[in-house]
Amino acid sequence: MLILAADTSLPLLSVALLRDETVIGALSLEGKGSRNEKLLPSVDWLLSESGTPRESIDLFAVTRGPGSFTGVRIGLATIQGLALVLGKPVCAMSTHEAIASEFHQRVVIADDAGRGEFYLSEFEAGRETRPPHLATAEERSRLHGHVVDVSAYLQRHNVAAGCARRALEIHRSGALDRYADVTPIYVRLAEAEVKLQQKRSE
């Protein structure tokens, strides 16, 4: 089974092409600027350099965040567009789930959300036990057990490859239907929404 995966939610954009568990190609690229100017060129490079016709991709895998709002939307829109016209399924998962797929024990995934806050989620042998949520720096510092820091992880691993592997597991366990939700995981409301709520509660 040929899987094409992409993550555009994190500071390093990544794409990966796998045949079952085996990586055919993977690349990471600094996500500065508009990620849409890098995503398709990266996908195209992987496909053309590996001599893979786009029609032969069996499954698309993509991350839904948390992360860059604009980045997440670019990844979801591009991959959905591709999958829609090629008539192939999309397996969409949280960015943290793509990372957690590498760990077999209980693990907390933690990412800097800016403004002194963190995005956290919890996994047990790769299965999500608590979805992404916002936490304070204090809550982050009190975490015990195995904590994976996303920005450090990102420097050593290709997140898209993890996303593809997790998608393969999901496909094999017949759970693709549960990963058909392609809406972003923002965790945070839009700033204007927060202000409006504050105004109303005053």
Binding site: N36, A77, L82, A83, A190, A192
Partner: protein
């Protein structure tokens, strides 16, 4: 068939057009209600809404046109100007679709979409465009008259401050009418009559050589007059109606005055057609005045179908049809919030 996508501001729209400009589908998901509590468009919310609506609309548009993906020979998308996050949803979606289909992608300037929109018909092929025409784009973001020659537009004037649609919206907001204010002002104005004695709106004085619009003076005057006379959405109905009618008259009077100034400046031979476009072009009183102005000069006046006034993908597809030479590789499309 050509597929077109528009996500530059607060309407998500998808259209399918034939090469002759026949609009086979033109679906619009408006976010107006979503932005109403904020009194204006919130960029992050607009971007979120676009992604939510884009793919359901694509599938519905295809069904509406009775088309299959294999019928799509090209994809047009608004690449700017607009809200960058909003544009990127449409552009990224279009990139994926075009790359997957192996068809060209045509980035379109949103303003060009408006420029040609009066030539689109409700049904059937588009009206053939003349070699030259004037096009006046009037909306929440633009007030400009263009000289369009062989599809290439030259801007003849612009607003020094507020756009005409923005002026409608801001004054409507001040008196407590819901967003967007233009249609509200028109609706209430219809019940009243213009009373410039009671509501003396300032008339901006332009230098002889100036062709510009300027709406900030009328806006400030409207706010002052509304305050003085206690005009509110929930106040005296007759006063509200007369105020709206007078305010609308003042805006349109300047529009016609500037159109006249531009017209006098254009060298012979002058164009024989004038088109209007943009959200404000849906205003009935304005349409009548422009039609009369053109009629007096023996011009053909092209008033856009109301469905093609506000942002829509059909006009983006139509502009792309005039610009097939700008088709590009889907991998290399750049969205820009400002386009020069």
């Amino acid at each position: 068939m050509l597929l077109a996508i528009e996500t530059s501001c607060d309407e998500t729209s998808v259209a399918l057009l034939e090469r002759n400009g026949t609009v086979r589908a033109n679906l619009i998901a408006s976010q107006i209600e979503r932005h109403q509590p904020f009194g204006g468009v919130v960029p992050e919310i607009a971007s979120r809404e676009h992604l939510q609506h884009l793919f359901p609309l694509l599938t519905r548009a295809l069904g509406h046109a009775g088309a299959k993906w294999s019928d799509v020979e090209g994809i047009a998308v608004t690449a700017g100007p607009g809200l960058i996050g909003a544009l990127l949803v449409g552009v990224a979606g279009a990139q994926g679709l075009a790359y997957g289909l192996g068809v060209p992608l045509i980035p379109v300037n949103h303003l060009e979409g408006h420029l040609f929109s009066a030539y689109l018909q409700k049904e059937g092929a588009a009206i053939p465009m003349p070699a030259r025409f004037l096009s006046m784009v009037i909306s929440g973001g633009h007030s400009s008259i263009y000289d369009v020659k062989a599809g290439v537009s030259t801007m003849l004037n612009r607003t020094r401050d507020d756009a005409i649609g923005e002026t409608f919206d801001k004054v409507a907001k001040f008196i407590g009418l819901p967003y967007p204010g233009g249609p509200q002002i028109e609706k209430f104005g219809r019940e009243g009559s213009a009373d410039p004695k009671r509501f003396p709106f300032p008339v901006p004085q332009f230098k002889e050589e100036s062709l510009d619009f300027s709406y900030s003076g009328i806006k400030a005057g409207a706010i002052r007059l509304a305050r003085e006379h206690g005009i509110t959405a929930t106040g005296d109905a007759k006063s509200l109606a007369d105020f709206c009618a007078t305010f609308q008259d003042a805006l349109i009077a300047q529009l016609i005055d500037r159109l006249d100034a531009v017209w006098r400046r254009i060298d012979e031979p002058k164009p024989t057609e004038i088109a209007i476009a943009g959200g404000v072009a849906a205003n009935g009183v304005l349409r009548d005045r422009v039609a009369r102005w053109g009629g007096e000069r023996g011009l053909i006046v092209r008033l856009p179908e109301k469905r093609y006034c506000t942002d829509n993908a059909a006009m983006i597809g139509f502009a792309a049809l005039q610009r097939e030479g700008s088709a590009t590789d889907p991998r290399r499309v750049i969205a820009r919030s400002r386009v020069h």
